[in-house]
């Protein structure tokens, strides 16, 4: 009888055949394929264009009872800005109400009669800003922007000599001066996509072998369990890196986002996060009995925490202490900070070493645990 010799290396032909087989599974399943490569694109487009909370070309109605030079200049200023378009010239308060109800405008600016007179002779006057607060965040932003435009106009008109004592707060929005939504959610999408591909897809793919009964054959074969694990996880690592590249290219081309930091550092941190996610996927596969089971655990156990506790949807600082504590054990939270710092702020390793260290520790810990838990026999 033939003696089996096993000298494994990275270029081992068995390993390569096994990995090729995994790729065939991925490429022959149209649904998986669509999900793998459609998801990053769809999410970028969705977040980039549909779910944006930035104020851009918002329609504003104007109710001008004064119709003087000052009110006209302010209206012009508002119309000139990128944030607003003066869409409606309203005649009465009733019109304002109607325009809001028909969704023609998101905000209205009301000038009282004799606006310029009062301002020039009385020293002060009032403008009413009305906003649709059914979306409170948008309403706040819109009124802030409108106030800013008015204040700016006012400061241009006031001569230094005539100015009474006033303190101007000058606001600088660092790294994202235009307050675009894209810079914040792109790292979030990266974390989400990598997590989904690595954790859900890999756990489902391993559990599928258990369901089919092929895992029994693989275990009975002389092929060592550790190489089964490597072969099963490798395709998802490669696909994830490819997905990351797609997201970055789309962000740069489609969303005009600039990658400020070191791209290699970005990929290195991503590799760490990918391997961590794969380890979680492997861990799930050791307990899940069916493919649906694995998918549910991945979605509930990983997708939700990633969405909620990573900080890209809701700021972690504002959370109750319990959730804040909980967020510390979510790997994507640390990955999100790293990506944000490297990609948006252009910071180097010196500023993220702490997060990198935490992520590395999680990666090593989870990988060791999941490999240890991977059964070399069947569990019953």
């Amino acid at each position: 009888m033939k003696k089996h010799k096993y000298q494994f290396s990275i270029f081992n032909s068995q390993l390569i055949t096994f990995i090729k087989k995994e790729f065939k599974h991925v490429f022959r399943d149209k649904k998986t394929l669509l999900m793998l490569f459609g998801m990053p694109t769809a999410q970028i487009i969705l977040f980039g264009f549909a779910l944006t909370n930035e104020i851009k070309d918002s329609k504003v109605g104007v109710l001008d009872f004064s119709k003087d030079i000052v009110s006209r200049q302010i209206i012009e200023k508002i119309d000139e800005s990128n944030y607003f378009n003066v869409a409606e010239d309203l005649k009465s308060i009733k019109d304002v109400d109607a325009a809001f109800k028909q969704n023609k405008i998101r905000a209205a600016v009301v000038f009282p009669p004799g606006f310029a007179d009062e301002l020039l002779h009385g020293g002060h006057s009032q403008i009413q800003l009305i906003a649709d607060a059914s979306d409170p965040n948008a309403a706040t932003s819109i009124t802030n922007y409108l106030s800013n435009i008015i204040t700016e106009y006012q400061s241009q008109q006031t001569t230094v000599a005539a100015a009474p004592m006033q303190i101007m707060a000058e606001v600088h929005m660092l790294y994202n001066p235009e307050l675009k939504g894209a810079p914040n959610f792109v790292p979030g999408v990266i974390a989400l996509v990598l997590m989904l591909v690595c954790t859900m897809m890999s756990s489902v793919s391993i559990v599928k072998e258990k369901e089919l009964g092929t895992m029994e054959i693989l275990l009975v074969s002389p092929f060592k369990p550790i190489y089964i694990i490597i072969s099963k996880l490798m395709p998802f690592l490669i696909i994830s890196l490819f997905n990351l590249a797609i997201i970055l290219v789309l962000s740069v081309t489609l969303l005009d986002l600039e990658i400020k930091g070191n791209i290699f550092l970005l990929f290195f941190a991503s590799m760490l996060f990918i391997i961590t996610s794969l380890a979680i996927g492997l861990l799930i596969s050791t307990t899940a009995k069916t493919q649906q089971n694995a998918m549910m655990i991945s979605l509930m156990g990983m997708m939700l925490p990633t969405m909620l506790l990573t900080g890209f949807m809701f700021p972690i600082e504002n959370m109750p202490i319990v959730l804040r504590g909980l967020s510390n054990i979510v790997p994507s939270r640390w990955f999100f900070i790293i990506i944000k710092n490297v990609m948006l702020k252009g910071l180097g390793i010196a500023s993220i070493w702490k997060e990198l260290l935490i992520l590395t520790a999680m990666c090593v810990g989870l990988l060791t645990l999941s490999i240890k838990k991977f059964k070399i026999r069947l569990q019953e």
């Binding site: 009888m1 033939k2 089996h4 010799k5 096993y6 032909s13 068995q14 055949t17 096994f18 087989k21 065939k24 599974h25 022959r28 399943d29 089919l212 009964g213 092929t214 029994e216 054959i217 693989l218 275990l219 009975v220 074969s221 002389p222 092929f223 070399i376 026999r377 069947l378 019953e380």
Partner: protein, 302 residues
């Protein structure tokens, strides 16, 4: 070749007894059958012997290797076809075979002579995906995959379940040929009619072995005279015979009843009883028992 002693296996923390103190041996080159209904413990024994499960107590060796401590050596020299094995549905016949050949560190060419007889039957469809194959073809492919690395022992867990009669017969022909090449084969089946095709069988029920011997010896140990009763109204005859005081056992078997009698009652006593009850067209004849008769008799005795 295989030695099992006092194996006990329970599931769910001991609440389900799957294998209850079982011992048997399989000789080199033997075609050994584990025969029994679902839940008899056949698959558990297979998984213990293929090192996939650990027994609660007892020891077992395959090819001289201990199933617990030397599992890696066993994994190098056995072929296994699990009961629910369905291969990779999205890979073609050839890809499946090639994959398993590679995993077992060999090539299709290297051991082609071993699988040739089986593989030529499915080779015309080698580019078809396994998910689109018929049950019989899937089973042939699975056997090829289990054989491709030239194992010394072949474990086949219910290979013929869910396969049509013709394919089943073909499959046993293939096993016979493999046996001639010196392979030791352990096969399980719930079909009693397949038992006689094995060299030796273990009849199993509820985690116990009822009897273990050659099929011929098991049949020979059926000391009672067995009668087949055929009648137009089977159900009424069955109830009548069951209430007959001289009946030892009577059960429906295919299209007739199988009957054994107590003591030294004869076929004539039965005829008298039946005629007295105004049954007509009842035919009774002595027959040779088969494995299923033996199995039912053994069940009663236990």
């Amino acid at each position: 070749m295989i030695k099992v002693s006092n194996i006990v296996k329970t599931y769910n923390k001991g609440s389900v007894q799957a294998v209850n103190d079982i011992s048997f041996e399989v000789k080199r080159g033997e075609l050994f059958g584990l025969i029994g209904p679902d839940g008899a413990g056949k698959s558990s024994i297979f998984r213990i012997l293929t090192t996939l499960l650990l027994a609660d107590s007892g020891t077992a060796t395959v090819n001289g290797f201990d199933v617990v401590n030397q599992f890696q050596s066993i994994r190098n020299c056995i072929g296994y076809m699990p009961g629910r094995f369905s291969l990779y549905q999205d890979l073609t016949i050839e890809e499946n075979l090639e994959f398993f050949a590679t995993v077992f560190d060999t090539t299709i060419e290297e051991n082609y002579d071993l699988i040739r007889d089986i593989y030529v039957q499915i080779e015309p469809f080698k580019d078809r995906r396994a998910g689109k194959l018929s049950g019989g073809m899937k089973q042939k492919l699975a056997l090829c995959c289990a054989l491709i690395h030239k194992p010394e022992v072949l474990f086949l867990d219910e290979p013929t379940t869910g396969v049509d009669v013709v394919s089943r017969r073909e499959f046993w022909e293939m096993l016979k040929k493999l046996k001639q090449q010196g392979l030791t084969i352990v096969v399980s089946t719930p079909y009693m009619d397949e038992a006689s095709l094995c060299d030796r069988i273990a009849l199993m029920q509820g985690g116990h072995i009822l009897s273990i011997d050659t099929p011929q010896n098991i049949i020979a140990s059926y000391q009672k005279t067995l009668y087949a009763v055929a009648a137009p109204n089977m159900y009424k005859v069955l109830t009548a015979m069951r209430s007959y005081e001289q009946t030892e056992s009577c059960f429906a078997f295919g299209d007739c009843l199988h009957l054994t009698l107590k003591g030294d009652s004869t076929i004539d006593d039965v005829s008298k009883y039946i005629t007295a009850l105004n049954f007509t067209d009842v035919q009774i004849q002595e027959i040779v028992p088969d494995i299923e008769d033996c199995f039912i008799k053994l069940l009663k005795e236990n």
